[in-house]
Symmetry: C2
Subunit: 436 residues, 2 copies
């Protein structure tokens, strides 16, 4: 059993197309190292940046993987287009003649499917044929999502898919005229970066959007949409979603594996706002009827995409409005920022018997002098993950070279305990400034 | 029971976006009059151009519809955007307070769904919510089709969905280098108008494409694709399909109704080439195993789109290659140029008991001095459709004011008989030129 794990964390449909700044690319590269969580003995990882030893040892130590058996190939993984011959050759060399039994990319775009084809590993990537003809775009497009949601009876916010600045402006103006706020969504982006809120109320906070634009009224919404159309439509390439924005809603999701044999729930969670998005907790703490609807509607969405041929991870995202409505907001057909919580931390580190009695809290970044220092501090404080109790802190990501932080995930018996541990993480003294 | 029939024969996704020349619009307007075939007592038709009396009498006489009970509203039906208030008001006035029980557009775009909403008739248009969020684009996109076909195991020609001129050029060049021809397809268009063949062989005929471009070799294919990228991608808005072109293939299709309760076969047919596309015959005369596969794969495609929420007519188009391969080429989620043959001529004029013993041949246009003169000539020759024998010639379209032709459909017991009748249509002497 050899798996090829591909850290293409900046596929075009995850970034809205552009390649981003060097810092954005670097952060994405570090985020892609999260694939280590899925690695098993003998696997090959294709990553934009090799993980540091301390992080790799931490992850493989927890998952029980023999680190020496892993091969990491590093190469730039651009957001679009075929991978260079040299990258294919490097992967082939790392495989050293072994058959690839499983391919797990962050995002199954045609760059990935082309690599897989050249390795002769089509069968190792479920849904390869669908992905190879650009199918992932259908599953990740926020515009297509609204049609599929409407077509499957999935509740969504009032709104429309606009193919022109006039149509988008009219829809936004109508919402503002009715006393609501509006959210404009790029068809392709991730992490809320492609969403912006238009509102007449300066107190409205943009949750799940990169900004709120305060406007005097409906006509200004029309002007704003026309002026920013090129950006909103990715240079005219995609339609734009215009929806009623429900302030102070709680974002939740249910994540699934869409397989040949059916749709399997991976888990669900809730995004945390404090006041801006800075983490998530698993499971989602929803009243049973809302949770049933989140999972039930999410599963039906998966079945629709499955009928097209999609295979892989699929997250159905939703909000719970202050009025208690559950409204779905988008679907993401890729590994998400939550996948590791369900597929690895819950399923493997905690394990099925105890999983339902554990809460996972991944909240904010933890400033540390180094990954090793963070681990030592956890050990000293008695906070490190303990395989005996299946509680404690796991460091799921290493961003030290980028911004001096690691990403901690607390595993605890309940939410209050998880938050208490999170608050108790040691604070490191700032390094004394070097004498000038 | 009141139906609203909407002749929006130039929806953006049927024309590749642009509004077309005045002559193209006029031809589309005459084509839209075909909706008369579906009209029943009391229905309202929204058409770009009112049918002439002779044509309307011919159609309603054959379908047994009381012509005086029909109301025709004429208005421009632009390819995109909401219909003007005046058009909505005119439809409302024509309805005179009656409830719309059924809405049948040529193409269910958001112009149609907006009109339907303003009439409060959402329930009368199956799949309204899906269509209202732009869903028809998913079902008519040739790019999405390739992903869905791949995802559902539907056989297609070798090829790819290209999002950039480089990717498209590389794919076309690869096909030419392998000794094949290539076809480039706009994501949205109809009637083969969005397809062009690239070939190194001057003898290759472009069947189902608007032209063949003869090139010296693979590099020229790259240059051609780059030079024409703006047109191929509709100004960068859509990806382009690049496929191996199989010369001298026979185009066939299976057409279905996608309903809440399931997928129902409407019929199947074969396009006729002589040497260019100039007609079709129903049913498709394929060996039983090929016919089974045409209908079986077509039905599975319909089920995939049905899972998304699509409702309405869906045609699965395919070719049979000279080697006997069945390869699917596109799906069209709209009334097609064949729908009337199955839903009206076969189902109503001939009727179920005899349908399987009749062949329908709609081939070429028939130059006539006037629609009435054409009917008279059919009567005199004893060729007019005879409800007793369920054979004879029906004039399915009236293009006299545009190009002096009508569109005859021969209904006969078998193919040779149908072709014999078609060849025997009277030839009218050209009008003597007026004395100068």
């Amino acid at each position: 059993m050899t798996a090829l794990l591909i850290g293409n964390n900046r596929a075009a449909e995850m970034t809205g197309g552009p390649d981003g700044t060097p810092e954005e690319r670097r952060r994405a590269a570090r985020g892609a190292q999260r694939l280590l969580w899925w690695a098993r003995d003998g696997d090959v990882l294709l990553l934009p940046e090799a993980p540091d030893d301390a992080f790799a040892d931490h992850v493989t130590g927890l998952t029980g993987t023999r680190r020496a058996g892993l091969t990491v190939v590093t190469a730039a993984l651009p957001p679009t287009g075929a991978l260079p011959d040299a990258t294919v050759a490097a992967v082939r060399a790392a495989l050293a003649g072994r058959t690839v039994d499983r391919v797990m990319p962050v995002y199954a775009d045609t760059g990935v499917t082309g690599l897989v084809r050249r390795l002769g590993a089509e069968r190792a990537l479920p849904g390869w044929a669908f992905h190879d003809q650009g199918g992932s775009a259908l599953v990740n497009s926020k515009a297509a999502f609204r049609a599929v949601a409407a077509g499957t009876g999935t509740p969504v916010a009032a709104g429309t898919v606009a193919g022109s600045p006039d149509a988008a402006g009219a829809a936004a103006a109508e919402l503002l005229a009715a006393g609501h706020s509006a959210v404009l969504k790029l068809a392709f982006h991730s992490g809320g970066l492609g969403n912006e809120v238009l509102t007449t109320d300066p107190a409205v906070r943009p949750l799940g959007a990169h900004r709120a634009v305060v406007l005097p009224g409906p006509d200004a919404a029309r002007e704003h949409t026309a002026r920013h159309w090129a950006g909103l439509s990715s240079g005219g390439r995609h339609p734009v979603v215009v929806e009623r924005y429900h302030p102070e809603s709680v974002p939740v999701y249910a994540e699934f594996e869409v397989r040949d044999a059916g749709v399997v729930l991976s888990g669900h969670g809730e995004m945390l706002m404090d006041p801006m998005l800075d983490g998530e907790t698993v499971p989602a703490a929803l009243p049973p009827d809302l949770l049933d609807r989140l999972v039930g509607h999410g599963r039906r969405l998966c079945e629709a995409y499955r009928a097209l041929g999609y295979r892989g991870t699929l997250s159905a995202d939703a909000i719970v409005t202050p009025a208690g409505e559950l409204l779905f907001t988008e679907a993401n057909g890729r590994l998400t920022g939550s996948s590791h919580l369900h597929s690895v931390l819950a399923a493997r580190l905690v394990g099925e018997p105890l999983r339902s009695r554990r809460v996972f809290l991944e909240k904010g970044a933890w400033p540390v002098p180094s990954f090793g220092a963070a681990l030592d501090a956890l050990d000293r404080a008695g906070l490190a993950f303990d395989p005996a109790t299946r509680t404690g802190v796991v460091l799921v990501g290493d961003r030290v070279p980028v911004d001096g932080t690691v990403v901690p995930c607390v595993i605890a018996p309940d939410r209050p305990a998880a938050h208490a541990v999170r608050r108790s993480l040691p604070v490191f003294a700032a390094e004394p400034a070097p004498a000038s």
